[in-house]
Point group: C2
Chain length 155, copies 2
């Protein structure tokens, strides 16, 4: 199956390597048959570890739509999203995601998402990056303020 949106994303992923902007990944976001945003991996060129193709494209699509949700949108990404991007997709709530290569394909070229996915399942004390809990009681105070706020926008 040849899909023009995925074909565009693949073209962008190849250009992204050639131009030296970042890793071999790109994403295109479509609403009602129209491309509304695209993104490529810009981690090294923007000094931003969160600038994966999907995150760049989600942020751009939300800017275009003027909303923090991608209701009714489709994301075409050249590779199965890493755990950061997959969770970002859940927060953005598009209608559907199309991906081409798999996380395993990416892992063969050094992009090891499986390690992060495993780490996410561990309790804080067992994680490889040390995590310590302090000052819970003080921090809890922000939550009732949020609950009581009558004009808040839930997300």
């Amino acid at each position: 199956m040849q899909n023009p949106f995925m074909a565009k994303a693949i073209e962008l992923s190849i250009e992204n390597v050639r131009s030296g902007n970042g890793g071999p990944f790109a994403a295109v976001i479509v609403k009602e048959g129209q491309v509304i945003a695209q993104g490529t991996n810009r981690v090294v060129s923007r000094n931003d570890p969160t600038a994966h193709a999907e995150i760049v494209a989600i942020r751009e699509a939300c800017r275009v739509l003027g909303h923090f949700q991608l209701t009714g949108c489709e994301i075409y990404t050249t590779c199965e999203p890493c755990p950061m991007c997959m969770a970002a997709i859940y927060w953005a709530r598009p209608a559907k995601v199309y991906f081409a290569s798999t996380g395993e394909d990416a892992a063969r070229y050094g992009f090891d998402d499986a390690y992060i996915r495993e780490q996410l399942q561990l309790p804080p004390a067992q994680k490889k990056i040390p995590m310590a809990q302090i000052m819970r009681d003080q921090a809890l105070k922000a939550f009732p303020l949020w609950e009581q706020k009558t004009d808040k926008i839930e997300y």
Copy 2:
């Protein structure tokens, strides 16, 4: 234990609710005893579903450092990071993370990270947001290009 960096983050989280900028979350990033960046949840005020406190602070800290890694930095976040932010932390590679309230505390106020964490473990076909694989063979072409690129910066 009273920690001045976490106390600052908690103060920011409370201000963030009062000002209507977003959810009750904030983060502060410290290097060599100095605050180099801070972030609060800006999802609704910036129309950006990825603008969680930790992501905002990580992007700012990397901008300040001029690098895509947070080597030697500590992140102080008012709440245990959601899966998106936790994975972003793994990509940013700080030395240590301090958190105050837990994901369970946040869930009691409607921030349900556990649902996303569960979804991340499911194969694409079983995920709640539909995920379909197409055009893998064409997408794979970007990887050898990346591998052969002699001047690439790995991340």
